[in-house]
Amino acid sequence: MVQEQEALIERIVHDLGPDGTHVMDVARAVSKRFGYIPNSAIPTIARHLQLSPVEVRDMITFYGHLSTDPLGTTVVRLCNAVVENMMGAGEVAAAFERETGIRFGETTSDGEISLRYTACMGLSDQAPSALINDVPFTGIHPELVQEIVRGIRAGLNLTTLPGSGVRHNLKKPGEIIFRRSMEHGAAIDKLLGVSREEALEEIKRSGMRGAGGAGFPAGKKWELCKNASGDKHYVICNADEGEPGTFKDRVLLAYNAHQVFEGMTIAAYVVGATEGIVYLRDEYDYLRGHLERVLEERREKGVLGDTIRSYQKFSFDIRIEVGAGSYVVGEESALIESLEGKRAAPRERPPFPVQRGYLSQPTIVSNVETFTSAAAVIERGAEWFRSFGTDKSPGTKLLSVSGDVQQPGVYEIEYGTTIRTVLHLVGARNAQAVQIGGASGRCLSSGGFERRIAFEDVPTGGSFIVFGPGRDVLEYMRQFIEFFAEESCGWCTPCRVGTTLLSRFMDRLVAGEATRGDLDRAIEMCDTIRNASRCGLGITAPNPLLTSLESMPELYERRLSAESYAPQFDLGAELRAGAAAANRPAPQGM
């Protein structure tokens, strides 16, 4: 095997070049071929890429879908995100354990099947879902599991098994993003004869804001990048879409990739970039073939590549890079680190990516949807764009709607639409609460349903999860915080330790063991985490607790223990552990 490893690594490095930024490609290829990355391969990878072994190991052990321990031939990654659990992922998990005879986290003794959990994969509209090797399975129910496991054992092609495949539930196309598939080059043609400055002015006049969550004005971002000095400028499309409950970028890439690439090309023209990168989460690897074909088509049509529309001075091409299982990598500077072949640890800011981004050069990182809207702005004009949405939030927004609704899927709505209108549109009756913006967003109860989706009121990256009557909302808040603890990159203390402590608190709260004093201390801890963390993950990690406490304090009142003090130290467990270590019988009555 060692020789085969060496040969494989040598071949990939030969194709890509001996450059440390390719460590992800190499790691993914080794992982694909051998099912894992043996420790023995690490020094080899390092040597070929001119890195130190400890750097390669650092990168590999960071990502959830790379492993240095052997895994089964077939790896079932069942999604256990909040919506999936609402839709019965727990029963599906039990069925997998029954059929395989192992627990999640284990591998069958014949080395055939491993069971693993994974965070939200962007399939909440068709939960429960799983990735089996690279193949997505959706709408899984316990009865289906037997057939799936039999098929795996029989060595059948995974794509032929029941439950495999993805539907793209586009429920409501709007005027800007899903208006129709934009004609290739329609926006680019408008650029010809227009200076970079004029194109930038149009984007600025549109008032368009980033769709990735923070709502940073797109024109401002482009301008900062354009004006920053560097040897090269880069345009990066953030298709990591990791926020729990969102999947609109998946649908956008599946149905309207041309317009996404068109937008990236326009951005490149404005900032003076020749290279663009789409960072695609590996959970969307099944979209890659389609995206490559669209890129090829664009090159053939002359709207991508060496000379765009025979315009001598403008060349721009796009490549796709795939991740390996991480939420924080969606943070723009972490994404850049990942593209450079490192662990996805966010950078300290300033400097911002527009000043010093990919390979220390000025870089635009924007969401998939943002590029799509930008193309529409250039094609139809800022005035037209501003006729949608609100004054401070012009345009439309894609919502990924899931949970207790009749019609889960993607909806393009105008900014300024009330939550109540959305609930009506998607067929959600008697909603108890809505989680807007995913785990890092906010939880609103019916008292907040008149509020509007807009940056000046309730901002969102697009996730819209409905909790129906009878749902145990605090349990889901507990799961959100557990998600942050699992996805924290671990760089800084407040987030690394704070989210873990907060997650333990939520466990006790939901179990009815937390006292009022514990809640007060947890709130103070939220303050420390928010004010000291290095990046948006830590800064927003306390949101599930804080926003639900604000909108539904009664849920907490009911859940708190009546005791004024509850010990957090399990004496019985400690005595048992001590006895076991000393090889003595366990103490009685504990």
């Binding site: 400890v54 960071f62 203390t493």
Partner: protein, 235 residues
């Protein structure tokens, strides 16, 4: 960092100090004799912003002083009740994350974590202890690691790569499982480390240290027994 020579002025807690562009806030404060509490930063190494104990408020927003470049006219809050409480909480998190039992610890009095905790007025942590199981590696003849005290400051990582030129240390895993990695096998005995390496001398809690030196200086007369921790000196 960019050109170092442009003079700028800023205020820290209302006191006007001067600095040079390209400096970090902590460098400027140190030069002016103003102590900003810190843990992961080491004056001989580039800053990485892990511990956040140096959190200050700059023009209304929070940031780490060890990594923040100075700018002309910056208004900085440092020694305030709110920030010191925040820092104490961070130190307490650091205590409960590892296994730190000062009364029985061999490096008591010579530990930056303990010293900063004293200086910030911490008594006992009020968070539940995580009690992790951590390894001790004695496989090298001269150097050992007791990971119970590791606070993930990353000084050994930086020193080994940048000063010793050996890249022996790095990280592995993420979140609360993040740990210092020793090359590929986590055994110091299989590495090129030497007792004279910078990486061995920079550890703030001496979880990485030279063997057979434990009690040369008796308890009670160690570095921070004599005076509280303050601005460190560069080598």
């Amino acid at each position: 960092m960019s050109d170092r020579n442009e003079r700028i002025t800023l205020t820290i807690d209302g006191v006007e100090i001067s600095g040079e562009s390209g400096m970090t806030l902590i460098e400027a404060a140190d030069a002016a004799g103003i102590y900003i509490p810190r843990l992961c930063h080491h004056p001989d190494l580039p800053p990485t912003g892990h511990c956040r104990v140096c959190t200050v408020t700059v023009n209304g927003g929070n940031g780490a002083a060890c990594t923040r470049p100075v700018a002309d006219g910056m208004v900085v809050e440092n020694d305030t009740e709110r920030l010191n409480t925040l820092r104490r909480n961070l130190i307490e998190m650091t205590f409960v994350e590892g296994n730190h039992y000062c009364p029985e610890c061999e490096v008591s009095g010579d530990c930056e974590l303990q010293a900063v905790a004293y200086r910030l007025g911490m008594t006992a942590p009020h968070y539940p202890a995580l009690n992790p199981e951590r390894e001790i590696d004695g496989s090298h003849p001269d150097v050992f690691i007791d990971r119970n005290r590791c606070i993930l400051c990353g000084r050994c990582v930086r020193a080994s790569a940048l000063i010793d030129g050996k890249s022996i240390f790095g990280y592995k895993y993420r979140g609360i499982h993040k740990a210092v990695a020793v090359v590929v096998t986590d055994r110091l005995g299989e590495t090129e480390i030497e007792a004279t390496d910078k990486a061995v001398s920079v550890c703030p809690t001496q979880c990485l240290r030279v063997k057979r030196r434990g009690f040369r200086t008796p308890l009670g007369s160690r570095r921070f027994d004599r005076e509280p921790i303050g601005i460190p000196e560069r080598e």
